[in-house]
Symmetry: C2
Subunit: 257 residues, 2 copies
């Protein structure tokens, strides 16, 4: 258990270092950031809308959704976060959140006090810049979601989302052809701006067409090339380093069709 949480911190730092130059000393300081472990049941909202936050949340295990709600109570998931993601890094610099957080499966969170992060950032311009940059990458992902929801069919939306998750999971060491996806179809529909019924029918068709399926809370990519084409997917917006992209693409297109 303790091992697991340390691993999450390392994953987070590894990903920061993929995108920004961070010296070993700075990395060590980040690794020593104090945190508080918190286990959260599936389907629990653990940060409410408009709440004043004092901690940032690093996902150690499980899946977290950031969402907001219309007056009519309809949910829209605005971003999805896998282990190694700092869900609300932005809250370090903007405490009042304009969205809420929900655990989509049983999840363990590492809560880091804003002040501690700020302190490391204040000491090192390189760290400050790295954190700023990661916030910007999160924004790029959001932009891609706007495009996905605004201009793609249900089938393409789901395909695109699964492509994104394949790469993000690949970047933290999972098999991009077979990675955890504990969200329900209802939650997927909230992420794609669809209804759960339509997600069901569409996923079913993707599965029958031999492209992807989700079984046993895992995504299984059967035909990467088709999936990427149907999802109109390009890795650029994730801003992963070229060698990482190449390695993951290799695993996705490699042995066994």
């Amino acid at each position: 258990m303790q091992f697991n949480t340390v691993m999450a911190v390392d994953r987070w730092i590894d990903r920061l270092r993929m995108r920004s130059q961070i010296g070993d000393e700075d990395a060590a300081r980040l690794r020593e950031l104090p945190y508080e472990v918190r286990m959260i049941d599936a389907n629990r909202d653990f940060v409410r809308l408009g709440e004043q936050t004092t901690h940032a949340c690093l996902v150690a295990d499980g899946l977290v959704g950031r969402f907001s709600q219309t007056a009519g109570g309809q949910r829209q998931i605005v971003s999805l976060h896998i282990p190694g993601d700092m869900v609300d890094l932005h809250s370090v610099v903007l405490q009042r959140s304009s969205s809420a957080l929900q655990a989509l499966s049983a999840t363990t969170i590492l809560r880091v006090v804003h002040g501690a992060v700020e302190e490391v950032a204040a000491r090192s311009p390189a760290v400050a810049r790295a954190l700023w940059r990661d916030c910007v990458v999160d924004a790029m992902v959001l932009g891609e979601w706007v495009q996905n929801i605004g201009r793609r069919s249900a089938r393409a939306r789901l395909a695109h989302l699964l492509c994104e998750l394949a790469f993000r999971n690949g970047a933290i060491g999972h098999d991009p052809r077979n990675f955890p996806m504990p969200a329900t179809q209802m939650q997927l529909s909230d992420a794609c701006g669809l209804t759960s019924v339509h997600v069901n029918r569409t996923m079913r068709r993707l599965s029958l067409d031999g492209i992807v399926d989700i079984t046993a809370r895992h995504v299984h990519v059967h035909d990467w090339r088709t999936l990427a084409v149907e999802g109109d997917f390009d890795t650029g917006y994730l801003h992963l380093p070229a060698p990482v992209v190449a390695a993951i693409t290799g695993r996705l297109t490699g042995a066994a069709g």
Copy 2:
């Protein structure tokens, strides 16, 4: 002309200072940032997808859209920028853009070299933090757009967008009941994930219902309260200071229904 561009820089700094504490000296340094004026015709794309950028763009006049395109060529405008906005502040920290920029009307842009901005940020942690924070606010707006496009009807989407623009224009000193909106219905449709035909019909109905209309390239808000309700609008995500919100709301609900 020169007056106009200086005013744009001031508007930008004013907005930064609305959200963050910036000392007078730091503000002066920002005001002295060197730039290059560039006039762009309506409908010109002036930053292409994936381009390596060396400058950030501050809008002095006109309207700019950040967008991306599907393989099929469908556009999705991901953010809209009015005078005083630094369209791609994020590019300071992430040079390779994963979206393109388009002038939606005749526009004048102030191009500021990344290095100059970075230098000011490096000298002052307060400035660095302010810029980071503004990037985060941009991301919050993006999140609201995801929600808007994913979960609201065409009528609500347009109403919400116009509410947002009323506040953003109000914050730079325009009359929030009557502000410039030079975009075509086609461009509005690209921003809302709709077709231009449907935007037309929907705007027409909003106008007939006496809520808002767009004439002579200006938005005219006739019934703010209804507009805000229909658009399911809450100012929170814009992260404007309470007194500014109050002042704009006052002008919107004040004299003449």
